[in-house]
Amino acid sequence: MRCYSVSSRVNHVSNDDEECSLPVEPADTQKPLFS
């Protein structure tokens, strides 16, 4: 098996499209916009 982080879009039942299960960077490892 494998696992990967996905968008918080999946939290909302009304979101039901391919984007719900596309890999994303975990929220707390995203790089800041400005550094």
Partner: protein, 198 residues
């Protein structure tokens, strides 16, 4: 707990993979299936050697329930105790099913936030959760069929994220799990171990 999952394959692919017949319902790929929604379920025909696909409400309503208000809390059944729980013990003996999927979601708590993760088998293909089902007659006299997904302790992949996981059956176990003539709960309970699928 398994509270959301994905079944993004088309109807024909699902039918071919699980060798089913006579699925009358339409099915559009779903990426975020949630409790109480209609979901495809596979059962063995009680008298003929064929598997049947149909849709049921996700969240088991026991036949003896006074109303359907508890369905959202019955989306999962713990495999370790299902055979002893009034809501699930008859279903463990007599009403087992497969719930097809190609991914499921779990959330990892990170401080005050929760990060969702998607789990797949390594080839990203279809698999089947072990399920239980029941029929309940509503106030209008209509039968409502509903199902629950069994859970177990986590395997090496899921344990990093969550302390439970849905039971993913090995395809070699489908026939025994679905066999309506198999009423020995001990025999089918042995199938409910954490997934070792590639």
């Amino acid at each position: 707990m398994c509270g959301r999952y994905r079944l993004s394959r088309r109807k024909q692919i699902i039918e071919e993979q699980f060798d089913t017949t006579d699925w009358q319902d339409d099915w559009n790929p779903r990426y975020n299936i949630a409790p109480t929604q209609p979901v495809p379920v596979i059962r063995q025909h009680p008298k003929e050697p064929v598997r049947q696909l149909s849709q049921m409400k996700w969240g088991l309503i026991p036949s003896w329930a006074k109303d359907s208000s508890g369905a959202a809390r019955m989306i999962n059944a713990r495999s370790e105790t299902a055979a002893m729980k009034p809501a699930f013990r008859d279903a463990m003996k007599l009403r087992r099913c497969l719930v097809p999927a190609d991914g499921f979601y779990e959330w990892q708590r990170r401080g005050s936030a929760k990060q969702p993760f998607c789990f797949e088998v390594d080839d990203g293909g279809l698999f089947a959760f072990a399920g239980l089902w029941d029929g309940w007659k509503n106030g209008e006299g209509q039968w409502v069929k509903s199902c629950s997904i069994l859970t177990t302790s986590p395997n090496a992949v899921t344990s990093a994220i969550h302390d439970r996981m849905p039971v993913i059956l090995n395809p070699d176990s489908y026939d025994l799990w679905l066999d309506p003539g198999m009423t020995k709960v001990e025999a089918v309970s042995d199938l409910l171990s954490p997934a070792t699928l590639a």
